[in-house]
């Protein structure tokens, strides 16, 4: 099985803020990590390779430093990595990103399975996996919570939704997005770490990928961020109750009862 796992390098979201003057994202000093949801995608790729043989290729689009995230994946057990990097690729929205990644998958060639995380924590869109499936013309299985049966040509999977779950069958090649429920990701071994420092990471730019210049980067993105701001702190009058527990409770219940018929 030739498996591609898509991993994204993301900023630690809790540390991100906006510069009040320039209105731009402050990136300096913000730590970066592998998108937490992608660790489950990676582990699943490794589990499938252990069962069926083949290789796990980690694919990431991002700045040069995203190479670190690829090396981290190799330390965990991926065989090799491909970084899609080039100035014209920057500023891509989910449409352009999924197009570029799908070009990378085509160039890798003979891929049986693409596994993505449920979503990336920076944008929380969950759109790149399905977008790739559409660009490739492959079936997708989203929100996968369990691998019921896996064969080299077909997978039986459980999907989760708000009100329940279902069992489905998909013929490969396909694109999956997986939930935390699928496995418990392993941590890198010492040998893995040493190995990850030595391997060469393949780097492709827009020319290597033969991308349509009209479909990449800021210019190739149908959506555009026109403004950003800090979340509203709702400005309002708060009644503060700071007496004894029983007094506060009594006052609150009075307020509550006057507001609603229970």
């Amino acid at each position: 099985m030739k498996i591609v796992v898509c991993v994204k390098q993301v900023p630690a979201t809790t540390e991100v803020s906006i510069d009040p003057e320039t209105k731009r994202l402050i990136r300096e000093g913000v730590s970066i990590e592998m998108n937490p949801f992608d660790t489950y995608a990676l582990e699943q790729g490794i589990l499938l390779r252990e069962k069926h043989g083949g290789e796990v290729i980690v694919l990431s689009m991002g700045p040069a430093r995203a190479e670190l995230t690829i090396r981290e994946s190799i330390a965990c057990g991926a065989d090799r990595g491909v970084l899609l990097n080039g100035r014209p690729l920057g500023g891509s929205d989910t449409y352009a990103t999924s197009y570029i990644l799908s070009q990378g998958i085509k160039k890798i060639g003979d891929v049986d399975l693409v596994i993505c995380g449920k979503q990336a924590v920076d944008g929380d869109t969950a759109q790149v996996g399905p977008g790739m499936a559409a660009h490739l013309g492959w079936p997708q299985v989203t929100y996968v919570s369990r691998f019921v049966e896996s064969g080299p040509l077909e997978l039986k999977l459980e999907r989760m939704h708000e009100n329940g779950s279902d069992i489905s069958l998909v013929k490969l090649p396909a694109v999956l997005t997986v939930l935390k429920d699928v496995n418990i990701p392993r941590i890198p071994t010492l040998k893995g770490r040493l190995n990850s420092r030595k391997v060469d990471i393949t780097i492709w730019d827009e020319k290597d990928l033969e991308t349509d210049p009209e479909k990449i980067g800021l210019g190739g993105s149908p959506t555009r961020v026109v403004s950003t701001r800090k979340p509203d702190a709702r400005d309002k009058h708060t009644i503060v109750l700071n007496g004894s527990a029983s007094n506060s409770a009594r006052e609150l219940v009075q307020i509550l009862k006057s507001r609603i018929e229970l």
């Binding site: 449409y95 869109t125 959506t223 509550l256």
Partner: protein
């Protein structure tokens, strides 16, 4: 595909809502979206923008009435056996074909697991942009474009997004963000029927069976008038007992912060916030919740917010209508006692 201004002005009208059906009923989020779709359509200067609901499923006949009551001008109904289970590929093929045929200007769907699987497939198939999980939708008066507002970076940033040269403009929206309009039982509209093509049914993906969580495990956070939420301040799984007791005494539902779920004190289905549910009850009672932005985005449009916290400076205390400074283990049982009487 990039379009020119005249191509857009000449061809694209109407605001579409992709309807969703659960257990034979119209999903609440669909009704909420019809509410906002009405506002958007009415704001379009052209004056001939209709609210259209596309409803697909294997047993959806008859459900159109409700959609008309809730402000749809037109319902496009696709009833077919092949739509019994959610096969994204069949659904997407039909939606993409119908969008190309009718050329709506705006298409919105619930940010449910189905909506979030279907919409990005469709957006790429018809080559347009899509904005996920919008918390605000409006029409820009000057340009007539859809302004899509959404949180990013775990809610630390609110971004406004436009889709200028591609049509339709597409967004998904979580349940609870918008309000449904009052049903008007005298309203009616136009019903159009469409089908599923044979070739659209041939996919390399098959749903074999479906399982629905039973009634009792269905936590109706969305339907509850009152939600009592426990945060890390409840300290342990046992600590949630007093939260459940209060919720029971006010006939409410139990919510939770991600911190408590990550600690394994309560299940994910209770999570309120950025990566959980967006709720909008009449009363929201936050107990031992600090009020980090990721939690606030999921509950800040509740009508009335009560916070119980030891720390008077916790962010939730600023947002609250009533802030009780105190130990939740003392205050919460007192409230339960008074409410039970």
């Amino acid at each position: 595909m990039k379009l020119t201004d005249t191509e857009i002005a000449d061809n694209y009208n109407d605001v579409w809502v992709l309807g969703e059906v659960v257990d034979g009923q119209i999903h609440k989020v669909t009704l909420e979206l019809l509410g906002v779709a009405r506002k958007l359509a009415d704001k379009r200067a052209s004056g001939n923008s209709k609210v259209v609901c596309l409803l697909m499923g294997n047993k959806v006949n008859g459900l159109e009435k409700n959609l008309f009551y809730q402000s749809a001008d037109r319902v496009i109904m696709v009833e077919d056996e092949s739509l019994k289970y959610f096969n994204d590929l069949i659904y997407a093929a039909v939606v993409s074909r119908l969008i190309k045929k009718y050329k709506p200007e705006i298409v919105i769907s619930g940010a449910t697991s189905k909506g979030r699987s279907l919409m990005p497939l469709v957006a790429v198939q018809i080559e347009t942009g899509l904005t996920a999980d919008c918390t605000g939708l409006d029409i820009d008066e000057e340009s007539g474009l859809l302004l899509q507002t959404r949180p990013a970076y775990g809610g630390n940033i609110i971004a406004t997004i436009k889709c200028e040269n591609h049509r339709p403009q597409m967004s998904t929206v979580r349940q609870g963000v918008f309000k449904a309009v009052e049903a008007d039982n005298s309203r009616t509209g136009e019903l159009i029927r469409e089908g599923v093509l044979e070739e659209e049914k041939q996919t390399r993906f098959t749903v074999l069976s479906e399982e629905s969580y039973g009634e009792d495990s269905k936590i109706s956070l969305h339907d509850a008038n009152i939600i009592v939420t426990g945060g890390r301040g409840v300290k342990s799984p046992e600590g949630f007992k007093i939260i459940h007791a209060l919720a029971e005494s006010v006939r409410g539902a139990v919510g939770a912060t991600r911190a408590t779920i990550d600690s394994g004190w309560i299940s994910y289905s209770h999570q309120v916030g950025q990566t959980g549910l967006t709720v909008q009850p009449k009363v929201y009672i936050a107990c031992g919740v600090s009020g980090q932005i990721q939690h606030l985005v999921g509950m800040q449009s509740s009508d009335f917010i009560i916070a119980i916290n030891k720390d008077p400076d916790a962010p939730i205390m600023q947002l609250a209508d009533v802030a009780i400074v105190g130990d939740l283990f003392e205050v919460v049982p007192e409230i339960t006692k008074l409410m039970s009487n």
